[in-house]
């Protein structure tokens, strides 16, 4: 079992590393998606089916599309794959600083927290129990999260749609540019 975990973790970290090192944006995006799929595999390995399927549905199915759309729609040149500019010393230094800061915070948090030794009997939680707990005890929290996400979605739509030149009344806006 441990070998399987190491294999999944290796594949996940490997694809994440390759995504960062790659020079091709689309390849990086696809490798990032592979890494997310690896997270789902770890959930499956841990026996958390529900979370694993949700992870695949949300990350591999939906977020990946957003990432790919962003990459394809925001590129300035007409070449199918945009190459990232070669690394500079400044960028490398900034990356190393940011990365080490995040790592330090995470390491501090992990080292300072005390892990209680696990119960001898592993808790058997089914999807049904998770659903009942989510809907009964934490129903209010679930609703609030839903509202926040909806507001964020509406905000994103408004941000993306505010283009003064596009509208039914100004369809000839492009004519003055020869």
């Amino acid at each position: 079992m441990t070998i399987a975990l190491l294999l999944i973790a290796g594949l996940m970290l490997g694809s994440a590393t390759a995504a960062m090192a790659g020079r091709n944006l689309i390849h990086s995006a696809l490798l990032l998606i592979a890494s997310w799929a690896g997270v789902a595999a770890i959930y499956l390995w841990a026996g958390a089916e529900f979370v694993a399927f949700a992870q695949v549905l949300v990350y591999v199915g939906a977020i990946s599309m957003v990432v790919l759309f962003a990459v394809l729609l925001t590129r300035q040149n007409q070449i199918a794959d945009q190459l990232i500019a070669p690394p500079t010393r400044l960028r490398a230094a900034a990356a190393v600083t940011t990365g080490s800061c995040v790592a330090a915070v995470l390491a501090a948090a992990i080292c300072s927290s005390s892990f209680a030794p696990g119960a001898a009997e592993p808790p058997s939680t089914t999807v049904r129990q998770i659903g009942l707990e989510l809907m009964r005890q934490d129903g209010a929290a679930l609703l609030i999260v839903g509202i926040i996400l909806t507001v964020a979605l509406l905000g994103a739509t408004i941000l993306a749609a505010t283009d003064p030149k596009v509208g039914p009344g100004s369809s000839r806006a492009g004519e003055d540019v020869p």
Binding site: L30, E49, F50, V56, V60, A62, L68, A80, T126, R128
Partner: protein, 408 residues
Amino acid sequence: MIAAGPDSFLERAPLALRDWAVQLLPVPLQWLAHHVITIVAVLAVFGLFFAFTTIAERKLLARLQNRLGPNRTGLPWIKGLRLFGLSQPFADAVKAITKEDIVPAAADKILHFLAPVIVVGFSLMTFAVLPFGRQYLPVDLDAALLYFFAAGAATELAIFMAGWSSRNKYSLLAAMRALAQLISYELPLILSVVPVVLVTSTLSTKAIVIAQGTWSFGLLPHWFIFTPWGFAGFIIFLIAALAESNRSPFDLPEAESELVAGHLTEYSGFKYALFFMAEYFGLTALSGLGVTLFLGGWQAPCAFLQFIPSYAWFMMKLIGMIVFFIWVRGTLLRLRIDQLTRLSWQFLVPLALLNLGNAAFWVLTAQWAGPLQLVRWIVSAAIIVVPFILMGRSLTAGFAPRTYRYAP
């Protein structure tokens, strides 16, 4: 007539055959053989089903267009025997395998190769949670519905990979169209399924079929399609399933009059055949899900018809769905991309959300009896029919009725 009921010989025969084959092997290998036989059975049955769906589609479309369709393929070693062209899919398979595999020089070789593999792999994975019969469920998962949609999610990615890696304008445009279409219709598809989950309060496909397994007077089945919310959900599900499987009238990603063959432009030979196969597998799996959720799965329509094995009922309903999809393809015209997305976001998504409220009403009024039962049905039907008419009127205002200026 063979003994009626769930334990008849025909019902158990395939399982008995599998158990007999498994016990021939040594004990350590038995669990492996058990699973391998299940997988091979699903692959064989739905591989053949795919083959005959293609010939059925070609023949039916031909009849709808007043043609004959393929009718010449017989058996290679018997001259003069034509079999109505029924062996055409096998001839097509030989043709696809022996054709040259062309990869464009500028293409991204790895992604170009991976795309058809991923699309077939993931569309086959969805079959794992479909209950084909009373005891014929390959994998019994608690979260089966979630699994189904998770497995289906990766096919969008594969279509994008195919379109982008081909390094072809048409392919890339098609890939973007496909993504926009799949994202737009994923929402109504899932929203049309949620009412079923709400009413049965389970995500397991097995339990959903069992929940539909009763009859009024032994004649009227309690399938979800025969409730107001179930009927509306089924129609929304059908439309969204058509769009999800890229079929006419939603076949914009491969609109041949605009985009050559869309994301398949640079594919040839067996890889093209794999995409084709995945499309049919996806259609079959979605039809199977529709049958499971709304048409009572493997349940017989009348109590006295239970002597027919459950898997036969499932396959009959599945074939009915597929024939309906072929009929739609031969009848309706292709939509424009703006009409396509508008249909989803302005019409189907609000209706599906209303239908969700409708199902909640249905659950809350489960105790109503007598004349209140009639009120329950009328209110539930009104919740979905009134907004349907109002929204339809307001959305088509200014477009219809169409006047023909030059034709009489």
